[in-house]
């Protein structure tokens, strides 16, 4: 019957060919990948009033087309809109292929942009553009705290490191526009070198499931994605201004994206932040200003079957470190702990003086992809990163303006990934990655190198699979192997070399011996295997469950291997250990998400067993010319973490809703049977929101509670300290976490139309509404000062 029908159409068109505008274009719209017909695709002849919609078999028919050149536009709710140039002189049949991928591309409601789940069975949570914009003048770590189970390890309030379910630094990978950020992430006082405004969506994978990004995600992966360019002629952008009272800070960020129907696009984004000394409720936090200048540019081509993306970003920050936290001896630390106000308070200034960090990060990347019909997509990425970190201390003499730490880290990464997705129910990724890294500590600092010269080579291969067993069952699995070689050249003081016992174990790596020091050439290889397996089961249209097992394997980082010296803000001597082995985690996580009429919830319990977990722990006291210092050394223990993250939201009516989240984590050193240090205290957040359709008005009150952390290791130590001319054995109480706290924050925003195509959003925020004095356990400056006091903030956002 069908053939007869087509025959009649053909015959009719043959007869009508003589007539000028009576040509018919017909055929099918199919999925590019598997050739399946696409239902409900809309086709139109650009510039003409001719439309058609495909039927269940993907068939369409466009009639009354004039002879000549035309552009046919094909759109589908689950696909990017595509345009095809076609010359028609007679009735024509044509199959249009669209890139249809409902499994891969999940729509995000807020921005209407495509958003991809990183894993099927793993627990992951995202924050969207709206949330990111709220934190436009803050940092990535601040924005991520919106996610339950994500907290932050701070040095003051300007150096903010994300903590995922109790783990941070080298255990958390940060992916910026598809590139793994290599910015000396090992240091606890190194914040991610990334402008939060460059992201339009941030996903946190709470575990090692996202293997394509790395096998060492013992804690998890943070994936920040830039804005995806649509395939159509358009130009849009936004500008956000912030003014804040605390720190008298100003910030501006602006972005612009130009896209063409041909698939070409061009985008740019820039941010300026300028803030002076911040304030606690009772005093000025001297030297906590920060100045930041960032920008990124990109362009590319996004065709159906091929394309490329070129991207460059620059981050530049000068971050003041609280003057009162710079101490020279344990006696100074005791004075700081015992004093209820900081030992140094000066008048407000925008100046950032020593102690400070000056950091620059360049990231350049080029990705190309090609799709193969009935097979999949091959992408090849190359990236280069250059990270420069200078830390300035209070110094004497000619070195006064010289940094005490000056590191240049260069990283090259080349990766290839083949996505095999031509099968309906199976998607697989195969990939390989090689990288080379070079660290250069500039000797002009005149201070012995904290991190030595080293070169690191890595090579990795992985395969992951997502299999749809049935409509409501998805199984995923993956395996990754990483080879890591680190080749370092480091000077050790002879006395330290002996004291560490390296002379007996490592005398074969000594290259040369000088008067008081020696040069060693440690070369270490690590073979790391990581894997994941899990299942996602859709119980009903209201309930989804996921279960995932993952194992991550992480080589010790340069700081854990080579640290050797005094830490100024902590007044400790920190020692690495050449004997460290890789650490291996085994994590099980379960997640249950539900959505009933007015109530939605998510519960995510997990258990993480980590073998050879690398910790920094106290190891005696050492006498110096500035008195006694506690010595901390890196050590390996078997550890376990378990906990639960809970989210819940209830909508009372059209206007009022309540959102709550709760996180609990319990970390234990199994070898010594004592709690792990720096585990976030249980915390509980509630937000009551009033929203109205009238100009999108929203008013929200948020209460943020952190309980007192009662589980902590007792690292208090006793040192002789000179008091009134005699040595007095004094207990230094560094272990006890500060008391829990409860803060209130207010936020509000309203949309005001400006022109047809642009609108203005006005926001007014008050952080720490009642100016509460508090200190947080995970803030390394808690010994010295209270945390931030009240802050009024006005935000102006213009979309155009």
């Amino acid at each position: 019957m069908k053939y007869i029908g087509i025959g009649i159409i053909l015959l009719m068109s043959w007869i009508s060919q003589a007539q000028e505008c009576n040509i018919t274009l017909s055929g099918k719209v199919t999925d590019f990948h598997d050739g399946n017909p696409l239902f409900n695709a809309t086709l139109s002849v650009v510039g003409e009033d001719i439309y058609a919609v495909t039927d269940f078999d993907g068939h369409y028919k466009l009639e009354n087309i004039c002879a000549g050149d035309h552009v046919i536009q094909v759109s589908h709710p689950d696909c990017d809109t595509a345009s095809f140039n076609i010359t028609i002189n007679s009735n024509t049949q044509r199959i249009f292929k669209l890139e249809h991928h409902i499994e891969e591309l999940k729509e995000v409601t807020v921005t209407g942009e495509k958003f991809k789940e990183e894993t099927n069975s793993g627990t992951e949570q995202s924050i969207n553009q709206g949330t990111i914009e709220k934190y436009s003048n803050a940092s990535l770590g601040d924005a991520l705290r919106e996610i339950s189970g994500v907290s932050s390890l701070n040095t003051g309030s300007t150096v903010v490191k994300p903590v995922i379910q109790g783990l941070h630094s080298s255990r958390v990978l940060i992916i910026n526009n598809g590139v793994r950020l290599k910015d000396q992430e090992w240091g606890v006082e190194h914040a991610p070198n990334l402008d939060v405004n460059s992201a339009s969506n941030i996903t946190v994978v709470k575990g090692a499931g996202a293997l394509r990004y790395g096998g060492d995600a013992v804690g998890g992966v943070i994936v920040t994605d830039g804005r995806v360019a649509p395939v159509k002629d358009t130009l849009f952008g936004k500008t956000i201004f912030n003014v804040a009272t605390n720190g008298r800070g100003l910030s501006a960020t602006s972005s612009l994206l130009k896209a063409y129907q041909t698939g070409w696009y061009l985008k740019g984004q820039g941010t300026l932040k300028y803030a002076g000394d911040l304030e606690a409720p009772d005093y000025n936090l001297s030297n906590t200003g920060s100045h930041e200048k960032d920008f990124s540019v990109g362009f590319g081509l996004n065709k159906f079957t091929y394309g490329f993306d070129a991207f460059y970003s620059y981050y530049n920050a000068d971050i003041g470190i609280l003057r009162a936290s710079h101490i020279g001896s344990v006696g100074d630390l005791i004075r700081a702990i015992n004093s209820d106000k900081p030992t140094y308070i000066d008048n407000f200034t925008y100046d950032v003086n020593a102690p400070k960090q000056a950091v620059q990060h360049h990231l350049a990347k080029l990705s190309v992809f090609k799709r193969f019909e009935n097979a999949g997509k091959l992408s090849v990425d190359y990236s280069y990163q250059f990270n420069k970190r200078q830390e300035y201390d209070l110094r004497r003499g000619d070195d006064k303006d010289n940094p005490s730490l000056d590191l240049e880290l260069k990283s090259h990464t080349l990766g290839a990934n083949f996505l095999w997705d031509s099968r309906d129910n199976l998607e697989a990724n195969f990939g390989t990655e090689v990288s080379y890294q070079d660290n250069f500590p500039d000797p002009d600092t005149g201070i012995r190198r904290l991190i030595p010269d080293y070169q690191m080579y890595t090579a990795a291969g992985y395969a992951t699979f997502d299999l749809n067993l049935a409509d409501n069952w998805v199984v995923d699995a993956g395996l990754r192997y990483d080879f890591v070689r680190i080749d370092a050249l480091k000077y050790y003081l002879n006395s330290r070399w002996e004291e560490r016992g390296y002379e007996s174990d490592f005398s074969n790596i000594v290259q040369s011996r000088l008067d008081n020091q020696l040069l060693a050439n440690p070369v270490f290889d690590y073979n790391n295997l990581s894997g994941t397996a899990g299942v996602k089961y859709i119980i009903s249209d209201k309930l989804v469950s996921r279960f995932n097992l993952s194992s991550a394997s992480r080589s010790p980082n340069p700081s854990e291997l080579f640290s050797d010296g005094l830490h100024h803000s902590a007044a400790i001597i920190e020692l690495g250990d050449l004997r460290l082995e890789k650490e291996q985690s085994y994590k099980a996580s379960l997640s249950l998400e539900g959505s009933f009429n007015r109530f939605t919830f998510g519960v995510n319990p997990y258990y993480n067993k980590i073998d050879n977990f690398i910790i920094l722990e106290p190891f005696g006291v050492q006498q110096t010319t500035r008195g006694a210092f506690p010595v901390y050394q890196y050590n390996q223990v078997n550890a376990r973490l378990f906990g639960v993250d809970v989210d819940a939201a209830y909508t009372f009516n059209d206007n009022f809703s309540l959102q709550s989240n709760l996180a609990y984590v319990n970390g234990q050193d199994l070898d010594r049977d004592k709690p792990l240090i720096d585990m976030p205290a249980p915390n509980f957040t509630n937000t009551l929101t009033y929203s109205s359709k009238w100009h999108n008005l929203t008013l929200a009150l948020r209460s943020q509670s952190a309980f007192t952390q009662t589980r902590y290791p007792d690292n208090d130590f006793i040192v002789p300290v000179p008091v009134n001319g005699t040595q007095v054995d004094t207990k230094v109480e560094i272990s006890k976490p500060p008391a829990g706290y409860n803060l209130f924050h207010f936020s509000s925003s309203i949309d005001l139309p400006v022109t047809n195509s642009s609108n203005l959003t006005l926001g007014f925020y008050v952080d720490n509404l009642i100016d509460t004095n508090y200190r947080d356990y995970l803030n390394r400056q808690r010994y010295f000062v209270d945390d931030l006091g009240r802050n009024f903030r006005i935000q102006l956002k213009l979309n155009y």
Binding site: H326, I327, G328, S329, G331, D332, T343, Y344, L378, V380, Y382, L394, R396, G397, D399, H412, L414, A416, F418, T432, V434, Y436, P441, P443, T445, G446, I447, R448, R449, P452, D453, Q455, Y457, L489, Y491, L493, N494, S495, R496, E499, Q511, L514, N516, Q517, L519, G565, L566, I573, Q622, Q623, T624, T625, R626, G627, F629, P722, N724, G725, T726, Q727
Partner: protein, 186 residues
């Protein structure tokens, strides 16, 4: 796919080849204070008493060596001079010169403990007329034994109560050097 592998291998070779193994130069820190010597010279003749604290490996694991050349004499006025050295470099660097140049940002504090009956007064001053403490006077009264603590503070607040008179309690700043010497007055 094969072509890609070649590209990968090629690039990797280039990358590994482009940075020849450079031998880093050793660093001998110039700011390290290894040694404090306090020379106490009796104004009216007699034996010079020298107090020394020496820690050649700086922040390394070895503890400082402390020596006191002999007892002080009662009822005697001594002229004191503090000298800070960095003996990790050769010739040794005299850190006291830098301290003197940046006198406004530095101050030595001397505290007597135990049964030492003596008094210490500053003899020098910085550009603001506040003491630095490189030069001082120590006057002993009666016999006894106890300790002398010498502390060098960087960026002390010299305007706080008692600081100009040598009381460290309100001085603030951070400690560049601190050592206790056991002394006897005979």
């Amino acid at each position: 796919m094969k072509k890609n592998i070649y590209i990968i291998l090629f690039t990797f070779t280039i990358l590994s080849g482009c940075s020849p193994d450079r031998i880093p130069e050793p660093i001998n820190e110039e700011e390290v204070i290894t040694t404090l010597t306090i020379e106490l010279t009796p104004n009216n003749g007699g034996d010079i008493v020298t107090l020394t604290s020496r820690d050649i490996d700086g922040d390394g694991p070895d503890a400082p060596e402390i020596t006191v050349s002999g007892p002080l004499v009662a009822n005697t006025t001594y002229s004191g001079t503090a000298t800070l050295l960095n003996e990790t470099v050769f010739p040794a660097e005299i850190i006291t010169e830098e301290v003197e140049e940046e006198g406004v940002d530095h101050q030595f504090f001397y505290e007597l403990g135990g049964n030492v009956n003596a008094a210490i007064t500053y003899k020098d001053s910085d550009l603001n007329g506040d003491p630095i403490g490189i030069e001082f006077t120590l006057t002993t009264v009666s016999a006894g034994s106890g300790s002398l603590t010498a502390t060098l503070r960087h960026k002390p607040d010299k305007s706080e109560a008692g600081v100009r008179d040598g009381d460290i309690t309100n001085a603030g700043g951070e400690t560049d050097f601190a050592q206790i010497f056991n002394i006897t007055v005979e």
